[in-house]
Subunit: 406 residues, 2 copies
Amino acid sequence: MRKNLIVAQSGGPSVAINATLAGVIAAAQAAPGIDRVYGGIHGVEGIQAGKIVDLTDFHEMEKLKATPAMALGSCRCKLPPVDQKDAPIYQNLRRVFAEYDIGYFLYIGGNDSMDTVCKLARLFAGEPDAPVFLGLPKTVDNDLPLTDHTPGYGSAAKYLAITMNEIIQDTAIYAVPAVTIVEVMGRNAGWLTLAAGMPRFAGGTKPDIIALPEVPFDEEEFLRQVRETLSHSPNVVAAVSEGIRDKNGEYVGSSAKSGAVDTFGHAYLSGVGKYLEGLVKKEIGCKVRSIEINLMQRCAAHLASLADIEESFALGKAGVASALRGETGRMVALDRLSDSPYSVKLKTVAVEEVANLEQLVPEKWRDLSDPKAVEEIRDYILPLIQGEVPQFRNEYGFNEYITFMK
Amino acid sequence: MRKNLIVAQSGGPSVAINATLAGVIAAAQAAPGIDRVYGGIHGVEGIQAGKIVDLTDFHEMEKLKATPAMALGSCRCKLPPVDQKDAPIYQNLRRVFAEYDIGYFLYIGGNDSMDTVCKLARLFAGEPDAPVFLGLPKTVDNDLPLTDHTPGYGSAAKYLAITMNEIIQDTAIYAVPAVTIVEVMGRNAGWLTLAAGMPRFAGGTKPDIIALPEVPFDEEEFLRQVRETLSHSPNVVAAVSEGIRDKNGEYVGSSAKSGAVDTFGHAYLSGVGKYLEGLVKKEIGCKVRSIEINLMQRCAAHLASLADIEESFALGKAGVASALRGETGRMVALDRLSDSPYSVKLKTVAVEEVANLEQLVPEKWRDLSDPKAVEEIRDYILPLIQGEVPQFRNEYGFNEYITFMK
C-alpha cells in the first residue's frame, strides 16, 4: 500500500541542509512505494498546525541544492516527554499524520531535532500503521556522535578556512604591533575553530593561537602567547571558539557571565572576542581588534563545498531508502573509509544514541603543537572543503534561491 | 635620461589595491623611459627608512592581482606641513629619492594618502630634477571626490550584496519575530551601505531598513519602521552604516560617545549595531541580533569583482603613462561614460582637490523610497560588481598570495 512522505527541517541553518532536502524529494518522487511528497513548514511546530506544502511536482533540485538556510523554514521546539502522550502537540501531529496519510517522516536537523525523531518513534512504537521516523543529520558544528562528520560542516569549514586566510593577509600590512581575535561558532565542540586553523595546518604560520572549547582557557597563558608572538612578528592572529571556558568550566567573557540561557537551556553566548580584545588592550596596550564571524560561517552559499553539497544530497536519498526499509528511530550517518582518495559509506544508527549527545574534538587532536595531530586534522578536514557549487544568478548577477514558505 | 620609479601603498587595505600595483609594475617594466622599478615597504614610513624592494624582475602579475590587502604593506602616516621642509621625514625621503635616483613616485591610497602626494609635490615644486608625484586612488569606502568611483569599492560592494542576500535567507527561517541589524563600514559616506541594500534594489524586498550616514538617524523612526515591518513579516533586516549620527551630528551608539579618535582625528567607531540591538531588545523585546561585517568586506578576495580588478590594473598602467608625461601632483581618476554597456574613461585630476575631501552619497540618492533614486543607484553599482577573478590555489586548495614584505 503506497503511503505519503513528509520531510521537514529543524534547528539552526546551514548551507547544505537544502541539498539533503533535495535528495529526499528526488528519491521520494522516484520511489514506487511513495505516493505524495510533502514538506512541513517550520518543522514539527508548523506540521502540527497543518502548515504543509506538496512537493510531489517540484523539480528545481540543482537550485535548491545551491540555496542556503532552510527552504521549508525551521523551528526550535523541544517536544514534551513521551509519557505525556496526550500533550496537544502530540495530538495535533497524530491528526495531521492521519489526515495526510503519512507513512514516512524524515526530519533534517541537529542534536535537538534528533531528540524529536527519537520521541516520535517511541510515541508510535508498536502501533499498527505507525509512520517510520527517520533522522537526517546536519549541523555546521559537526558535533553529532556516531557519524564521521555532519552535512553542513564542510561548507562552514571552507568559509572559515578561506576567510581566515584573507583576514591573515589583511592584518599583515602594518609595521605596528596589532592583535586580531577571530571568534568562531561552536558552543562546546571545536570543529569550526579547527577549520579556522587550516591556513596554519596547510603550511602557513598563522593563526598563531587556536583556542578550542575542549581545552580549558587560561588568560595568563593566552597573554603570554600574544607577547611571545609579538616578540618576533608585528601581528598576532588568534582563532577562538565562542565557547571557551576557564579551568572551572566558566565561560570566558562578560555576557557569558550574565546567566542568560536559550530555549534549550544552553548558555547564551556572545562577546568572547570582545572580552579578549579588552583584555589585550588593558594588559598589553597594543592595537587590537576582534572579529565575530557570525552568521556568515553558516550561510555563505557562494563558498559552499561541492563535496559537502553532493554528500548531503546523497544522504537525503539514502534516507528515503532507509525509510522504505522501515528503519524507524534511526539516523543516517557517515563512515569514512579513506581520506585520500576520499571515500565514505552511508549507514544508519539508533537515533537515541545521537539525540542530545555531543561529539567533541577527540583528546588526541587537542594538542595543536603535536605535528601528528595537525596532520590528521588536516587530512580529516581537507576532503570536506573541496569543489565549487554552481551558482544560479538572475539578470542582476544575484543568486536566486528557493523557498517553500509563502 | 632614464630614471627609476618607486611605488608604494598606504592607508587601509582593499581587494583591488594589489591589482593597481600590478598595473604600475607591468607598465613601468615596459616603459623605455624607466630603468628600475622599486617598491616601498610600509608606505612613506618605510621608504624614508630605506625599506625598498626591487620589482624590476617581478612577473607574477595575475597572482598579485588576486592577492587581497597590500603586498608592499601599508602605513598610516600624516606628513608634517610643507613649510616644515627640514622635518626628519622630509630629509630622509630626499636622501632616499636621491640614492635610488627616483624620477617617479606613485602612491596608491585614499584621502590621507593623497594628502601625502600633495605635500610631496609641493615640497619639491620648482626644483630641477624633482620627481613626479602621482596618486592612484583606492578605498572600499568610495569616498574620493572627482572620480566616478574608486578601485576596491566594486569588490567590497559585491561581497556586501551577496553576503546580505545570504543573511536575508538565513534569518528568514523562523516563524518567531526577529530583528537582524547588519553594520557596514563607511564612516561618513554611505556607499557601502547602499551596496548592502542591493538585494532590495535588485528586485527583492529586504533589507527592510537602510540607514546611511548622510541621513540624520532618528531612533524613534527606526523603532517605528521595525514595528511596522514586524506587523507584516516575521523578520526584519536592517543595513546600517557604522557612522550614522543623530540630528545633532552625534554618532549613534555607546562607544562612539567615548570620544576616542584615531591617528587622523577621526572618531573611532564600533558597536553601532550592538547599540541598536540593545535598543530593540529594550523597546520591542523580540529576538534581535547584530552582525558586524568587519574586515571581511574589504579582504574577501575570493569574491572580488573582475570588473574592479581589471579596472584597477588598467588604472595602475595609466598612472605610469601620466607620470611619464610629467603630471606631478595629480591623481588618476575615472569618468563614467555609460552604465550599460559599462564604459569609463581615465583622466587625471589635481590631487589637492582630492586630498582630505570626502565624496558623500549625493542628495538625490538619499531618499530610498524614491524609485528613480533606487534605479539610478542600482545602475551605478551593478557594473562594478560583475565577474569572477581567477583564483590561485595550492595543493591544499588554499589561495596563494604574493607578499613583498619579508
